[in-house]
């Protein structure tokens, strides 16, 4: 292999490597997030005239971004999510690190839960947290059940260890959960 080809190969390798790792290491302090308006238009009913429209898949880029997950973790502590959800094991509120999701495990569903609030005690943080902060929280919540790439998930925190760190958690595949009696609204 002559010199020029060698250099080209190295360059290509670097670029390929870069495309792969860039997302995780982005430190976007003023980054664009998924459009919150799209979340408001999530259907609450399965009845539709005509044929069913395809459900739009919303990807939360923050799930691949280490800084966002770390900020989400800090927000989880600072907004006192631990007060009801503990560190994922639940208490007053449901556990967040298992496979059961009452209101859906998709990023936009978690976003909706946090911003709109839910019956029986989940406050509505819409307007009290910036949209991108809620996306960070949503990404972190998904990491608590191991649903984000392990190399972006946060490590153990510098505290007493109550559970496995998020980056060591095995993936809990979300299953559809029926609403518990207590979560049903008045009939």
């Amino acid at each position: 292999m002559n010199g020029r080809h060698r250099h080209l190969l190295f360059l290509l390798t670097f670029i390929a490597f870069g495309a792969w790792s860039c997302e995780r290491e982005e430190r976007g302090f003023r980054v664009k997030t998924p459009d919150a308006n799209r979340v408001q238009t999530i259907q609450l009913s399965t009845l539709q005239p005509g044929a069913a429209s395809p459900t739009p898949v919303l990807v939360n880029e923050y799930e691949h971004n280490a800084l966002a997950l770390s900020q989400g973790k800090q927000l989880f502590q600072q907004m006192n999510c631990v007060g009801c959800h503990a560190n994922g094991g639940g208490g007053i509120g449901p556990a967040l690190m298992d496979a059961k999701w009452i209101y859906g495990a998709q990023p936009e569903q978690i976003f909706a839960t946090v911003t709109q609030g839910r019956p029986n005690g989940m406050p509505a943080f819409g307007g009290k947290l910036a949209d991108y902060q809620v996306w960070q929280l949503a990404a972190y919540v998904r990491s608590m059940s191991g649903n984000v790439p392990k190399d972006a998930a946060p490590g153990r925190n510098d505290d007493m260890q109550i559970k496995e760190p998020e980056n060591s958690k095995d993936r809990e595949k979300p299953e559809n959960s029926t609403l518990p009696k207590s979560a049903e609204g008045p009939q």
Partner: protein, 350 residues
């Protein structure tokens, strides 16, 4: 030994003071954040120690350079063909050896003197630990601001503020330093040396400001993105001024009467501000960010890095990430009207 030690220190101290009087102005860039502009008893001692070390070391340096220069000038210049001297004259070698032994002896003595001065200064600056009834503070460092609590024996008299200290002149202060996240370092060069704030390692730190004035300090241990702008200011004032400041800080701001300010308060309580900030007398009790109860009375916002003006406050509220990228405060969108009300309300919190 102690008497001569004291005598030597006095002489050197006078020389140091004289020389610092001559040289210091050249070395002093500002008088609010400089170790050469001491406003406290410890900084004063440290400045004297600095000048002692400086002059001793300067003399040593000049001597070494003179010897080198003399060697350059006096020595015969030859080429590489010149025969090397493998068996030099014994007498010359012995003289050189004796001179070096003497130089080493002088070095050892000088180092001893410097070391003892250092130990003396060290124990002197730690003397304040024994002061009776110091003013008691608790400073907690976070990324990237300083949480300051004035601790009173009656807990309801505690004062919570941020990024600013007011201190009565001449009174010893005891500070308990800790950190909530990473290692920071509390440093006000005019008043004392620095002390690291290590998480889980509460440390007690004593100092005493002796000159009235306003000084600034800065975090001195790399702590992340905004380490550079984690500043605070220190206002040293007379006892009376200090007492009136304390009284004002303890006062809960009354509910606003002006409709614009009421609107501002409403916006504060219904938008993102309330989740992180606290204002006494309102439902806002967020502990994540600085306490804003008397923020309008502080000359700086954004942890001592932005002067507290209406214009700056507007930019800060709408886009803090542009001024201090990497902090926790999010960007906010408000309509012009709302922003005016909010800024007016905040600037009313004196």
């Amino acid at each position: 030994m102690k008497k001569t030690g004291n005598f030597n220190r006095k002489i050197l101290g006078m020389l140091a003071a004289l020389a610092s009087f001559i040289f210091a102005p050249a070395c002093r860039l500002n008088d609010k954040q400089s170790a050469l502009e001491s406003a406290g008893i410890q900084a004063d001692r440290l400045e004297s120690l600095w000048w002692l070390f400086f002059y001793v070391c300067a003399v040593v340096y000049v001597i070494v350079m003179i010897v080198l220069l003399a060697a350059i000038l006096k020595t015969r210049k030859v080429t590489e063909q010149a025969a090397p001297d493998v068996k030099p004259d014994e007498r010359g070698e012995r003289t050189a050896a004796n001179i070096i032994k003497g130089a080493v002896a002088i070095t050892v003595i000088t180092l001893f003197v410097l070391m003892l001065s250092s130990f003396r200064t060290g124990s002197a600056i730690n003397d304040l630990q024994n002061s009776p009834e110091p003013l008691s503070l608790k400073i907690t460092g976070s990324q990237f601001w300083w949480n300051v609590t004035y601790v009173d024996t009656v807990p309801s008299n505690n004062i919570q503020t941020a990024n600013e200290l007011h201190l009565p002149v001449g009174r010893p202060v005891k500070v308990e330093l800790t950190s909530t996240d990473v290692i920071h370092s509390f440093w006000m060069p005019n008043i004392h040396g620095k002390k690291d704030l290590v998480p889980n390692y509460p440390t007690t730190f004593y100092f005493r400001p002796d000159t009235v004035g306003t000084y600034t300090g800065q975090c001195a241990e790399f702590c992340g993105y905004q380490h550079a702008k984690m500043r605070f200011n220190v206002v040293v004032e007379t006892e009376d001024q200090f007492e009136s400041w304390m009284a004002a800080q303890r006062q809960t701001p009354p509910p606003p009467s002006d409709p614009l300010l009421q609107k501002g308060q409403q916006i504060f309580l219904t938008s993102t501000c309330v989740t992180c900030h606290a204002i006494q007398g309102t439902p806002a009790n967020g502990q994540v960010g600085p306490n804003l109860t008397h923020v309008a009375g502080r000359p700086f916002i954004a942890a001592g890095s932005l002067p507290n003006t209406d214009e700056n406050l507007r930019s800060w509220i709408t886009d803090p990430q542009k001024i201090k990228p990497g902090i926790k405060m999010p960007m906010n969108t408000f309509s012009d009207e709302d922003l005016n009300a909010l800024v007016a309300y905040i600037e009313s919190l004196k």
